[in-house]
């Protein structure tokens, strides 16, 4: 079963199937395949069937909502009223969210049906989904390999056809990298485009929600439902959202695409590079004007990112204190013991590493050397992009340096895991939109190509990806075991 959201909307409108029928089909697929893939932390079967029945009634009354009757899944980082929101952590294993995230509310108001909550690296900290309290997720293309992270459950669920689309969040690549590793299409919008209200915070100046789906056209639909100003998020942008689907069918003749020379240098698997080059050739044939650009700060984006992200993480995660919600240790002897043991038991190793580094970077005497320095480099990284966009409309490169690695291959060395994010994290530092789309395979594992846009230019990214997907079918491939 490999429906796109667009096909489901058409099928529902034409009466070929009902929302109840298709929702039941997806729930059956989840029951069959989730034990092997572990994409879902919670499956909300009863709620899904209720929502599907309501959608069918609405459709019978002529409802033409953007997503009416379409089943999809939410990353377990978005708060869902009355449904456990674990964030992949023991800390929140017992946390029933008391309200909906804006993204969840908007998608529900657009008529969608929630199938469940997807697995993820704990508090979105990871690039392999191996940091989840609920166990790792398997890549549907080869179950001995990781799906990427942190939105690994969402990406694997879409790739295996356990959901036609899912939400994700991206702090340093957490939508684009798993999308690349699982062969699906995902977009991280401009910072401020999608409300962060009700998203469990990791690094507030970097976090941004977005969709993962089977095509750029589907991503445009989902982003339409998710995006827009929200007074409840103090960094939400008031810039008009526009229509993300309006330009999808326009050509790309004369479009100036820049290839950062630093993205095609040492560190990139040469087999992956040649797959990307073939895709660039297709875009040339469609009329794109491809040229080289330079982003000199690329290598330093990793240390810069990890200081900013860990500092913000240590501050954000101080709220988990065992007092008001979440895990509390047994029999605390005093208040300090309660804090320390509740946090020590509730957080996994990677979260602890990041809290410790962040605490250190923000501590007296070290602030200037680490946090302030990183913020200065952050501006230089943003300036690099600004210069590059003076000459091009779009920047293009690989999403990841290699295809999905084996489960366990990098768990002993946190720094080698961090290096996986080399092409994705600078966008979060600069606040730019980016997306990943599948463009081929190496060793039977998908390769993702990344498109980077100027601020609030998501419509152009979606247009270029859609144009490419009109002349290719990589995005429609399904792993044989889950066909």
């Amino acid at each position: 079963m490999s429906y796109t959201v667009t096909e489901i909307r058409q099928g529902l409108a034409a009466g070929r199937f009902s929302s109840s029928e298709i929702t039941r089909d997806y729930l059956a697929r989840i029951a069959e395949h989730n034990p092997q893939l572990n994409c879902f932390i919670s499956v909300t079967e009863e709620l899904a069937m209720q929502q599907a029945q309501a959608a069918d009634a609405a459709l019978a009354n002529g409802d033409t909502g953007l997503l009416t009757g379409v089943p999809l899944a939410h990353k377990d980082l978005f708060c869902t009223d009355g449904v456990r929101t674990s964030c992949g952590s023991r800390m929140l294993d017992n946390f029933i969210a008391p309200y909906d995230a804006t993204v969840v509310e908007r998608i529900r108001e657009a008529g969608a049906v929630m199938l469940g909550k997807t697995n993820m690296d704990e508090f979105a900290m990871g690039s392999s989904n191996e940091n989840s309290w609920y166990g790792n997720v398997a890549n549907p293309w080869n179950t001995a390999h990781v799906p990427g992270g942190s939105s690994g459950g969402s990406a694997a669920a879409v790739a295996a056809g356990l959901a036609p689309a899912a939400t994700g969040t991206d702090t340093g690549g957490s939508i684009r990298q798993p999308a690349a590793l699982c062969g699906v299409t995902g977009i991280k919008p401009t910072y401020g485009r999608v409300s962060r209200y009700g998203m469990v915070a990791f690094a507030s100046s970097l976090d941004q929600g977005g969709p993962l789906a089977r095509s750029a056209a589907d991503c445009a639909l989902l982003l339409q439902a998710m995006a827009g100003f929200d007074p409840r998020d103090s960094t939400s942008s008031e810039i008009d959202v526009g229509d993300f689907s309006a330009r999808l069918d326009q050509g790309i003749e004369g479009l100036r695409i820049g290839l950062p020379k630093e993205y095609f240098a040492e560190g990139l698997d040469s087999r992956l590079a040649s797959v990307i080059e073939t895709a660039i050739g297709e875009l040339r044939k469609l009329g794109a004007d491809v040229r080289e650009v330079s982003l000199p700060m690329t290598g330093l984006s990793i240390p810069t990112y990890y200081v900013v992200a860990m500092a913000e993480c240590s501050s954000n995660l101080s709220r988990f204190d065992g007092v008001r919600f979440g895990h509390r240790c047994a029999d605390p002897v005093d208040l300090e013991d309660l804090y320390k043991r509740s946090r020590g038991e509730g957080f996994g190793a990677e979260v602890k590493r990041r809290i410790l580094i962040g605490t250190y970077a923000l501590s007296a005497g070290y602030y200037d050397a680490y946090y302030l320095k990183a913020q200065q480099l952050r501006r230089m990284i943003k300036d690099d992009f600004h210069k590059a966009f003076a000459d091009v409309d779009l920047i293009l490169g690989p999403t990841t340096p290699e295809v999905a690695f084996e489960i366990g291959a990098k768990t002993g060395d946190p720094v080698s895991m961090y290096l996986q994010d080399i092409y994705t994290i600078s966008l979060n530092l600069a606040g730019l939109p980016g997306m990943s789309l599948p463009v081929g395979f190496v060793d039977g594992l998908p390769v993702g190509m990344q498109l980077i846009g100027n601020y609030f230019d998501e419509a152009r990214l979606l247009q270029v990806a859609h144009r490419y997907q009109q002349v290719s079918d990589w995005h429609l491939q399904t792993p044989e075991a889950f066909a």
Binding site: P98, S234, H327, R328, G344, L372, R378, R379, P414, G431
Partner: protein, 95 residues
């Protein structure tokens, strides 16, 4: 920069984070290698560069000081580890 066991101990104390005794050496190694990565930042002279805290260089949006939230105390306390008479309970702080 290489951290020592005592450094990690004092950072963990600042973060109010319990670390198991037998895991300390592991954290010392991991944190030291992360700091070695982070110190690559010093390759760049950034003197005079204005720090960037919001990627869009936006400042905090303010709103009128009016009540915009309703009371959800019962709902919030339903998921708390320990409450009594509408209050959150913790171990005794004042003897």
């Amino acid at each position: 920069m290489t951290l020592k066991s005592d450094d990690v101990r004092s950072i963990a104390q600042l973060a109010r984070l319990h670390i198991e005794e037998d895991a300390f050496e592991h954290y010392v190694d991991d944190l030291s290698s992360i700091l070695a990565l982070v110190e690559q930042m010093n390759q760049v002279d950034s003197a005079g560069i204005v720090p960037l805290s919001n990627p869009l260089d936006a400042s905090q949006r303010l709103r009128a000081d009016e009540v915009s939230e309703s009371d959800h105390r019962d709902k919030f306390q339903a998921i708390a580890p320990d409450v009594a008479e509408g209050l959150y309970r913790v171990p005794r702080v004042i003897e």
